[in-house]
Symmetry: C2
Subunit: 361 residues, 2 copies
Amino acid sequence: MSGKVKMVTMRDVAQASGFSPATVSIVLNNAPLARYIAPATKKRIEDAAKKLGYRPNAMARFLRSRRSQTVGVMIFDITDPFCTPVLRGIENALYQSSYVPIFADAHNQRTRFERYLEMLLEHHVEALIVVANWLFVDIQLLADLSKRNITAATIGWEVPGDSVSSVMVDNEAGGRLALEHLHHLGHRKIAVIRGPKMLIDSGPRWKGIQKFANSVGLEMDPSLVVQLPDELEANSGFDGGYRFTEELLERKKKFTAVLAFDDLTAFGAIRALTKAGIKVPEQCSVVGFDDVPLSALSAPSLTTVRQPLEAMGNLAVNLVVEGIKAGLEKRDWSISRHKMTPELVIRDSTKAVEGGKDLTK
Amino acid sequence: MSGKVKMVTMRDVAQASGFSPATVSIVLNNAPLARYIAPATKKRIEDAAKKLGYRPNAMARFLRSRRSQTVGVMIFDITDPFCTPVLRGIENALYQSSYVPIFADAHNQRTRFERYLEMLLEHHVEALIVVANWLFVDIQLLADLSKRNITAATIGWEVPGDSVSSVMVDNEAGGRLALEHLHHLGHRKIAVIRGPKMLIDSGPRWKGIQKFANSVGLEMDPSLVVQLPDELEANSGFDGGYRFTEELLERKKKFTAVLAFDDLTAFGAIRALTKAGIKVPEQCSVVGFDDVPLSALSAPSLTTVRQPLEAMGNLAVNLVVEGIKAGLEKRDWSISRHKMTPELVIRDSTKAVEGGKDLTK
DNA sequence: CCGGTTGCTTGAATCGTTTCAAGTCAGACA
DNA sequence: TGTCTGACTTGAAACGATTCAAGCAACCGG
């Protein structure tokens, strides 16, 4: 019961099957040389391995072959609902490729990011995936990783230079989608809560909004446009949405819809509106961005611009796995930058403007 | 630029400092023997290591010392909002102890669980933490792990036998808390949505409810009590809450409050009530269980029984870390089972019953 | 009967660290 | 002068796999 189980090594399998460790290794890994091995031999070795319950020792293997079967997954803050589906996508794709994720959560802190990077390097991850926000513009990352030729990919952020692939959503198209929806519903007085300046997403989203506004001759009242501050707190989006909406209400400016930077901000806005006795969506529509998991469950459920988060996680994995392969085969390989197309998800938080006609029908 | 960076090994540090690899190892690890090493030597070695940017190779180290600095974290479904705070707690505590988490998400599938277990063993995790639900009663886990003396702890589930520690919430106290709150608010006709039979939490929560009801002479109308089916789907709680609430409404039974099995179920209930034109909390109170992150953000925010999820993650880590230490020092060590006390969080989804008086004041 | 092929298998080096038993050396003591 | 203490330091053997160059038969054609 308490007796320690001696580890079954390749040597044991060799002994049991009557072949040498070299042969066992070749067979069990289906190495190139395996095509010279007699089928009967293969069978005997495989049987022996199974019977003994042989499990390769990933560490020992790494030492010789330099393959750790491990990928670092660095997340800026798992507490942010944005991250969960992305993580799911990453995990799932890695699983398909038989890589194991080493999980690192930076808690939005640079020092923590750096320490984790160190740890990941010590563990010789074969690649790194970073789900990032503004914090992570890091020369270190570029220099250290590409020199050690560890392929890396970021999700939700781009690193300057040509050493890191990236996967993002097409923010401009998303911004456009959001405003287009509200416009079609007949909204003309629309409050916009822009994202923090330092976030890479904020600019393009706003640009998409403006472009659409121009294209249909819609005037965006500057006094209805506010911008979230550069904040790192977990729920700063929610708080910001709440505060700014309150503020707008106090200013007595009239608006029939709020276009929020992201879902959390939208929830904050809804909270503020509800508290002020304004019904969503009857008296004011609210649209978010991201489609985080809560958005479908909240009351009212949130109309939002969906980022294909899980697919983005998937894609990032495929990119780095390609990079690993290329490195192994000494092929050339260059990074790529991707923009996924967002999708409008219409739920219960938006409605045709009171008295206006729903132009979507 | 493209030149590969040769790894800096201990040998290099030895060379640079003029000592042998053995000495370097002793110094850099601050091994027991280090107390015999001259301070000047230590300094020279440490300087050399720093100058060369030496980073120990975790794999090579493991091979000799059997320490992988790695802990497996198996989660039943990261998509479940319950898991996020727990994961945060685990990650944070591991980070403090300089362990690196290997992340595994079973997607609620047994086969996936087993394959991941295999992978974790290949990577020689020093311990395993399982955030579990009903799926994971697994003899394998007990046998394989304790025999290979890998300490393990589960969160949210108990494994029979004496080989796995566990951390749970005191469900009975929680159930009591929830009903007590509604009762104090004057509610007497209370619908209860019980958890699935196969979930370990369901029984004790219901028991806590019944006990409190008895203690105050409250009669729980059996026709107002329903039970969620054994479902594995991600949002089955939400759907169940929605469906059962709809059903109760159709039956025209009167009730002024819903005590839901967990927060997701509560959200489902709120959705159904809202859809039927019943205002929460004005016409019907709803109380959940867990306090998942969304609960604070939803409109109305959810009154719920809080599980200290992050603390539970922390505790689980502390348990296994203790186990690892004990194993290293060949001390005896026995598993433990913990029940954390839940806490009532009063938010906006509950209110004194219409016409009744709020007894909490 | 020899040299060359083909088909299959393996010896031995290697990866980067840790771990002791065993070394060296200077000075103290007898 | 010889021996004995420390006080430091290190040689060399693991750990468990991978990887080639090299080995061994057996067979074939000439």
